[in-house]
């Protein structure tokens, strides 16, 4: 599909996510394409955003793209380097907490935006074991806003998670509050086909589809149905966005293929 375009599906995903980041946002950054999106936002549309990592580096410049949140590349020219206690405090204290935006990936997501990064099958003898929460459950619990990267297919957009690692809206309307979590949490899902958000009831709906994709195609890649009545076509990445992404954010093609 993306072969017929001037941009890959990775590229439109990255740029679409980057556009969600605004000046003044404090971006909690996971590994891989999350890092690429945060870097793109800082270099394209949100130069006044701050990237930070759970490992303790704050306002990293990322002259080279890190391959992990503990990659020493995050330490170069950072405003401050500390440890996990300090990093997680940033997501919860009264001055900074409300500005934090998380970018994460997951193996499974349900219609309330809850995530599974732990295992497929029975927890005790799983068919497939994944790395686990890492900081995912923490950021999903703490942040007022967040972006999730997903590949769009029926095995990933499921009716029921095999394991609920990171909270989205939990059971739907009021779910977070009932559990003791603050409102907010992950707010947008960016996939290889489009963009999904959550309505006031906490249910996922289709907000946008990429050029060449239809809402019907997207529904065909999900185990559960979502409202597509509000969906519009997503603006494709501009040439300028693509140039900066390719030449400045990932010249080594560590993430972009």
């Amino acid at each position: 599909m993306s072969g017929r375009k001037e941009y890959s599906s990775q590229e439109i995903m990255t740029i679409t996510a980057a556009r969600e980041i605004k000046d003044g946002d404090i971006v909690f950054c996971g590994t891989g394409i999350s890092m690429l999106a945060a870097t793109a936002a800082k270099r394209i549309n949100a130069p006044q955003s701050v990237i930070f990592f759970e490992t303790g580096a704050i306002d990293s410049w990322l002259e080279e793209l890190p391959l992990s949140v503990s990659d020493p590349r995050i330490e170069y020219l950072a405003a401050s380097s500390s440890g996990l206690v300090e990093a997680f405090a940033t997501m919860q204290n009264p001055k900074t907490g409300s500005k934090v935006v998380a970018i994460l990936g997951a193996a499974q997501i349900d219609k309330y935006g809850n995530l599974n990064t732990t295992s497929i099958g029975d927890y005790f003898s799983p068919r497939i074991r994944f790395p686990g929460s890492g900081g995912g459950c923490d950021v999903a619990s703490f942040v007022p806003r967040g972006i999730v990267f997903m590949q769009h297919n029926k095995r990933k957009f499921v009716n029921k998670l095999d394991y609920l690692t990171s909270p989205g809206q939990l059971g739907g309307r009021g779910g977070r509050r009932a559990a003791g979590l603050r409102p907010g949490g992950l707010s947008v899902v960016v996939t290889n086909l489009g963009v999904l958000r959550f309505d006031p009831g906490g249910e996922m709906f289709l907000d946008g589809y990429y050029p060449g994709v239809t809402p019907e195609m997207i529904l065909g890649h999900m185990e559960f149905g979502v409202d597509v009545s509000r969906a519009v076509e997503v603006d494709p990445p501009t040439q300028e966005e693509l140039t900066i992404l390719r030449d400045q954010c990932d010249p080594e093609r560590l993430i972009l293929t």
Partner: protein, 325 residues
């Protein structure tokens, strides 16, 4: 051992005397940065087994211990090396094949558990994880918990906020303290009595060390105490927390040590290839761990050319433009 006593030991001696079979052990570092690899290889070389391991996010170090069959029980938040290795391969196999008991937490929960241990309190509160399976699914049964005095009777406890809705929280999750028998960390500088200086990110190393009954420190540089004492605020760990100081240059290789060397992508890729196949993996550990007598011999086997490739650039603290794909 007096606080200011000389704690310098050969790593093999430190591991022999401080890591016992069945010990509850924790590892410093984070995924591919400052893992105590030399100390981990020594534990494997000595075949010290039935270990109960505590990590937050760990990578190849964790994986090698599991691959060597030394881990009986594991409390963990994340087992991977980021983009290079989304999930540690021997960890994945061991869990999928029911070869170890494991229990999942989040990074912040494990962080708070070590912090609680360092502060001598039974638990710390957080709102992280409320409503998730991390709270619901216990890796260790209540029966086992009651039978094992080294772990708490409950995995986690959810309770109402005794201060009403103070701080906007109606409920809190209480995470129990961890006090490992022994913790392994690798630092940039230490003196002979155990004062330590970590450069760059400290991860959870300080809380892990302070929560632990015994601490084995491997260091890039063994420096004069008078030198460290010129800037006391940069010495995050004081001598009385440390049991043994072992001078092991490149002691975190193949993971990174900020301002000294980068992680080695080639080694980690070769490791993954071996880890996918049981026979290859046995050969790998035989060749790189059991057939050498020390970390220095291991480095010779790897080849000093690799050390040149990963050597940190003084401006950035990592290996600029190193081939990583």
């Amino acid at each position: 051992m007096e606080p200011n006593g000389n704690k310098v030991l050969e790593l093999s001696e430190a591991v022999r005397s401080l890591v016992n079979p069945g010990a509850h052990m924790s590892l410093g570092g984070f995924t591919l940065n400052r893992n105590p690899m030399a100390a981990i290889h020594e534990v494997i070389r000595q075949g010290i087994g039935d270990l109960h391991l505590y990590v937050h996010s760990n990578g190849v170090g964790l994986d090698e211990l599991i691959g060597a069959g030394l881990i009986s029980r594991l409390e963990i938040a994340y087992g991977g090396v980021g983009k290079a290795t989304p999930t540690c391969i021997r960890f994945k196999k061991a869990v999928q094949n029911n070869e170890i008991q494991f229990e999942d937490y989040s990074n912040f929960m494990m962080t708070l558990r070590f912090l609680a241990g360092s502060l001598g309190v039974p638990f710390l509160p957080t709102i992280s994880g409320l409503g998730t399976d991390i709270v619901e699914k216990w890796g260790f049964s209540p029966e086992f918990r009651r039978s094992e005095s080294k772990i708490p009777d409950q995995k986690l406890v959810v309770m109402g906020n005794p201060f009403g809705d103070w701080a906007g929280a109606s409920k809190v999750l209480l995470v129990p303290a961890v006090n490992p028998d022994v913790t392994l960390i690798h630092v940039q500088q230490a003196d002979s009595v155990g004062n330590c200086r970590i450069e760059g990110l400290t991860f959870v190393d300080l809380e892990q060390a302070k929560a632990s009954r015994e601490v084995i420190v491997t260091c890039e540089e063994l420096v004069d105490t008078a030198e460290l004492r010129k800037t006391p605020e940069r010495n995050q760990l004081a001598m009385f927390h440390v049991s043994a100081v072992c001078h092991v240059p490149h002691g975190a290789y193949p993971t990174a040590c900020y301002r000294h060397y980068d992680y080695d992508p080639k080694y980690l890729q070769d490791y993954d290839r071996a880890a996918k196949n049981d026979n290859l993996y046995r050969q790998y550990q035989q060749q790189y761990i059991h057939s050498v007598f020390s970390h220095s011999e291991f480095l010779d086997l790897v080849g000093r050319d690799r050390l040149r490739v990963v050597q940190a650039d003084p401006r950035t603290g990592y290996a600029v433009n190193m081939k990583r794909d």
